[in-house]
Amino acid sequence: MNSYAYTLLIPLIPFFVFVSVGMAEDKLKGKLGGLIGTAGLGIATFLSYFTAFKYFISDHVAGTGYTSVKAFEITWLHLTDKLTINLGVLIDPISVMMLVVITTVSFMVHIYSLGYMEGERGFARFYAFLSLFSFSMLGLVLATNLFQMYIFWELVGVSSFLLIGYYYEKPSAFSAAKKAFIVTRFADLGFLIGILILSFNTGTFDFKELTNPHGIAIASMGGAAFMGLSVITWALIFIFIGGAGKSAMFPLHIWLPDAMEGPTPVSALIHAATMVVAGVYLVARLFPVYSQTGPAALQVVAWVGAFTSLFAAVIATTQTDIKRVLAFSTMSQIGYMMLSLGVSKYGGEDGLGFMASNFHLFTHAMFKALLFLGAGAVIHAVHSNDMNDMGGLRKYLPITHITFLIACLTIAGIPPFSGFFSKDEILSAAFESNKILFGIEYFVAGLTAFYMFRLYYNIFWGHDRHYHHTPHEAPLVMTVPLMILAFGSIFSGFLPFHNLVTSDGLAFESHIDWMIAIPSILVGVLGIAVATIMYKKENALPDKVAASFSFFYRWAFKKFYVDEFYMFVTKKIIFNYISRPVAWFDRHIVDGTMNGIANLIVFVSFNIKGLQSGRVQQYAFVFVGGVVAMVLIFVYVL
């Protein structure tokens, strides 16, 4: 037992809420289930903040680095003396940071949903699932070893499935839920293979042993080579596939836009702030292993991240469903984080990218949750997801308008909002490592500003549409979380991340590099300016631009036909050329053999059933005859 043992409660409280609210779902009248869930998460949030305070401030001896602490650990499975699987709680800078991120966003979403989900059928069920998700996500970030992480990783996938499919009567919702589950599950296969290779070669699952840069585990790596890369590099690439699936990196991103079928608070919680950054967290967690033994794997991470951020940003400029724009923007921002990890090195100032990635993860969680919740308030007011049904809403939704604008300025990287600081660190890290990657990210920064303000102007400016009723501002229970998150978006940029969350736990000096910051502000302002010209007052310009890029525009609008490509591969190729022959073999050969045996037995028994005559003396005669025959055989033949 040590002074952090209470942290075990942080994941367990949501778990108990899930069990109790889930079991008593029918009996909880009105908002009771929601209030229980919110209260439980409130306690977990308080404990997380307390832990952050204790870990970063009160327990920290000035001038030393942050070390990781195992708050709690038990042996869950004892298979052999060498192979045991533990469950526990690991406290270190990134897990404490993630605790704060997850509980903050989750708590805000819990409060917000009290208003947003009011009167929905299965209100208590919604809160039960939210608690299950919070439990899984907290368990994931607190995992002490790879295997425990894998368990919670899958639990996160399940709860995401349940929440996307919350409106399970809607065919599009449950097919989106299935798609998300299958795609991420497919990626998790890579994760599992990676875990097996990695722990087979190092002999441990434990993060503390694995990631100790001077430990035996890293030294013992190396191993045999396969196709020019060491086995460990392959293991790390496989693990990254798992992370890419959860974080919606190209080409495993196809589930994220569809996942917007879930309720908007769910999108804010899972598909913006927490679950989708699990992949970033995974790479950050294993970062010493990546940087010490698998630089090639880090290259993969960097290029996949850069490509995804560009790809998603281009698609985001063409979409009209406001939640989908935000979904692609999320992919793009996570691409930034991955890129930043990919260009980082271990230790000291070389670890700038690592710090920047976690920093951006933190600020992104705030402003993206804010954007989604703001979009939820807009949808709540006009009952549509399509920006063509919106316009002029700034008069009706003043609070949503201001907070949304803050979030847009934050993501566009305008100082002094937090996005500016984290994005600047990422750009500096990329600039020091690879000029091409820097160029891509620089371009994406401008694109981000453009598509966010396109969204903003389309929703809040322009002329009014024909609304069914006059749009009205959301209730206080929804706007207060918006204000709190707006506060976080503005001020979280001033947190001294370079002192807190670094690759080796030691603080290093970091300052804003104005040589990079000023161009990045300029490109953000340029993006905003272009969006202002095109979308602030409705004019023919957007259509003209779209027409002049007609071919490219159509490709981007159709999301570059990636979904169609997957459908082609699965339906046309896999179904036709693999599944069909296999199904034929199963129906005709396997089933045929079984049916043949059964038919043969029926045939034979039908023909010999006359032997069962019911006459006892006939039976006795056969019996005696048999005995005599056996006697004769034993005596004369054998």
Binding site: Q612, R615, V616, Q617, A620, F621, V624
Partner: protein, 105 residues
């Protein structure tokens, strides 16, 4: 006197009784007669037990005990069999096995 009778004589008697019993069991139509045939078979076995005990292990009694057990079992078997036969008679008004062939597929 009994000591002068050779072993084979006993075995011939027992074998004859056994096959008479088998023959009776297979040919008689009356359930009671079939039951009596079974008793013949059992008794032929009893004779074998006693005779082999006498000729092979004259100082021991195992064979005798076996015959006693067989007699006891035969008595209970007869009791059960007669109870069954009475019930059959009540249902079919006959104890002829030719009529009792309902137990088939």
């Amino acid at each position: 006197m009994i000591d002068n009778i050779p072993l084979n004589a006993f075995l011939v008697i027992s074998t004859l009784m056994f096959f008479i019993g088998i023959y009776g069991f297979l040919t008689r139509r009356n359930l009671i007669t079939m039951l009596m045939s079974i008793e013949l078979i059992l008794n032929s076995v009893n004779i074998n037990f006693v005779v082999f005990n006498k000729f092979l292990y004259p100082n021991q009694l195992h064979g005798h005990f076996f015959s006693l057990i067989v007699i006891a079992v035969a008595a209970s078997e007869a009791a059960v069999a007669i109870a069954i036969i009475i019930n059959i008679y009540r249902n079919f008004k006959s104890i002829d096995v030719e009529n009792l062939d309902q137990m088939k597929f």
